[in-house]
């Protein structure tokens, strides 16, 4: 064989064998979610952890236990990762998501939590990273370079969890919307981790992508299961940890702009952090199986309302469009990282 071709094959093998190792954990988590979700659907119905699918004419009751399947899938992946690599760093990563997911589970199980108590409790998700000092308080800021934020950074770490978790939770309004908006974030973190050579974050991001992809057949329109608060807060917690441990803070904020925008505008337009029950006007109307934006000025401003202005959109298409927005900001995040951050690393 031509020596240059054999060298190329060798480079290809070395480059991708590392990723293939990481794919094993991702595969384990994918298969676990696929296998466990039908059981979670039955469990949700049995214990009455169900919610109304409001954008359907028949208003069916759907189990809200998809988050438990996501958590189980990542626990299996963590076990495989620890056995293969003897790396306990992933425990810190996962524990942040587990704390956030547990808070979401409490809300799914016991009913809606005080809207001001929830963000306060979500601050607890930052404890594993703050206590173990797993963060590096020197983020790179575009046009400035590497900064030293020894006093501010721990505060930002604590705040990152309630902001991210609630932002992800706020887009979980349609069948599949939370999944379609979260996958681009982890795709972005995988790409950045890959070119930075950060195998840990690459593994964790691939695991997150695989558990989310595995839930698509069950959560896509028409949904058989909802991720619930446990699922969206768990994923939000993992996103915050990915940003902090992967040192991709600026890229993560840009990738999460649709979710942050949705959450922030809802809070602003209803005049503070309030329960959904206190909001009288809905952002969208459901007419003849289609979503259309409300023209009521007192209705909350949401991504779905923006996208359905003067239009009649099916729930399925709306969820895809939300995914397109997330994909767009994830591309902007990668470009920002490549052009304005990477030069300082």
């Amino acid at each position: 064989m031509n020596p240059s071709v054999s060298r190329l094959i060798k480079i290809f093998y070395l480059e991708f064998s590392g990723i293939l190792d990481k794919m094993l954990e991702a595969l384990a988590s994918f298969l676990t979610v696929i296998a466990v979700t039908p059981l979670m659907i039955r469990l949700g119905r049995r214990v009455g952890m169900v919610g109304v699918d409001v954008h359907k004419s028949s208003k069916p009751m759907i189990p809200k236990t998809g988050g438990l399947a996501l958590i189980l899938g990542s626990l299996i992946a963590l076990l495989v990762h620890m056995l293969l690599n003897h790396d306990f760093h992933s425990l810190i990563f996962l524990s942040t998501g587990l704390i956030a997911g547990f808070i979401g589970f409490l809300e799914d199980f016991r009913g809606e939590m005080n809207p001001k108590l929830k963000p306060t409790l979500l601050l607890l998700a930052s404890i594993p990273i703050l206590v173990t000092g797993s963060y590096v308080p020197r983020p790179v800021i575009p046009f400035i370079g590497r900064t030293r934020l020894y006093k501010i950074y721990p505060i930002l770490v604590a705040l990152a969890y309630p902001v991210t978790c609630n932002a992800v939770n706020s887009v979980d309004v349609l069948n599949g919307s939370m999944i379609y908006t979260s996958i681009p974030f982890f795709a972005m973190s995988s790409i950045i981790a890959y070119y930075r050579g950060n195998l840990f974050i690459l593994t964790m991001s691939l695991i997150c992508i695989s558990i989310l992809v595995a839930l698509i057949p069950y959560n896509r329109y028409p949904a058989k299961i909802f991720p619930g608060n446990s699922g969206s807060l768990f994923i939000g917690g993992l996103m915050a940890s990915t940003a902090i441990l992967g040192r991709i803070e600026v890229a993560a904020i840009i990738a999460l702009l649709p979710q942050i925008m949705n959450e922030m505008h809802v809070i602003f337009s209803i005049g503070g952090i309030k329960s959904a029950k206190e909001v009288k006007s809905r952002p969208v109307e459901f007419v003849d199986g289609f979503l259309t934006a409300s023209k009521d000025r007192s209705a909350p401003i949401t991504l779905v309302r923006l996208l359905s202005a003067e239009a009649r959109v099916s729930e399925k298409n709306m969820a895809y469009m939300m995914g397109v927005l997330a994909a767009f900001t994830s591309i902007l995040a990668i470009l920002t990282d490549l052009l304005l951050v990477e030069a300082w690393i």
């Binding site: 800021i141 501010i152 904020i253 922030m264 934006a293 401003i301 923006l306 996208l307 359905s308 920002t336």
Partner: protein, 79 residues
């Protein structure tokens, strides 16, 4: 067709927000963050930096919300 127009409008809005975020992060990193992180001899200058930093961030958030409202009511819903 209308959905694609709305999508393009929201993508444009997000691009503007992304560009202004980079600007705001630059201003914060040169005003608020150094004022808190580094002990300065000139207290007045530090206070001014904190005020400028916080004012910039607040103005950005309010401008983002106002822009979205204009986008929704004037551009998308055409009131």
């Amino acid at each position: 067709m209308r959905l694609l127009k709305n999508l393009a409008a929201v993508l444009g809005l997000l691009a503007i927000v992304c560009a202004t975020f980079l600007l705001v992060s630059y201003i914060l990193a040169s005003t608020l963050f150094p004022a808190i992180e580094q002990a300065s001899q000139n207290i007045l200058a530090s206070i001014l930096r904190v005020i400028v930093g916080l004012a910039t961030f607040t103005a950005w958030v309010l401008a983002w919300y106002t822009l979205t409202k204009i986008w929704l009511y004037k551009v998308l819903l055409r009131e």
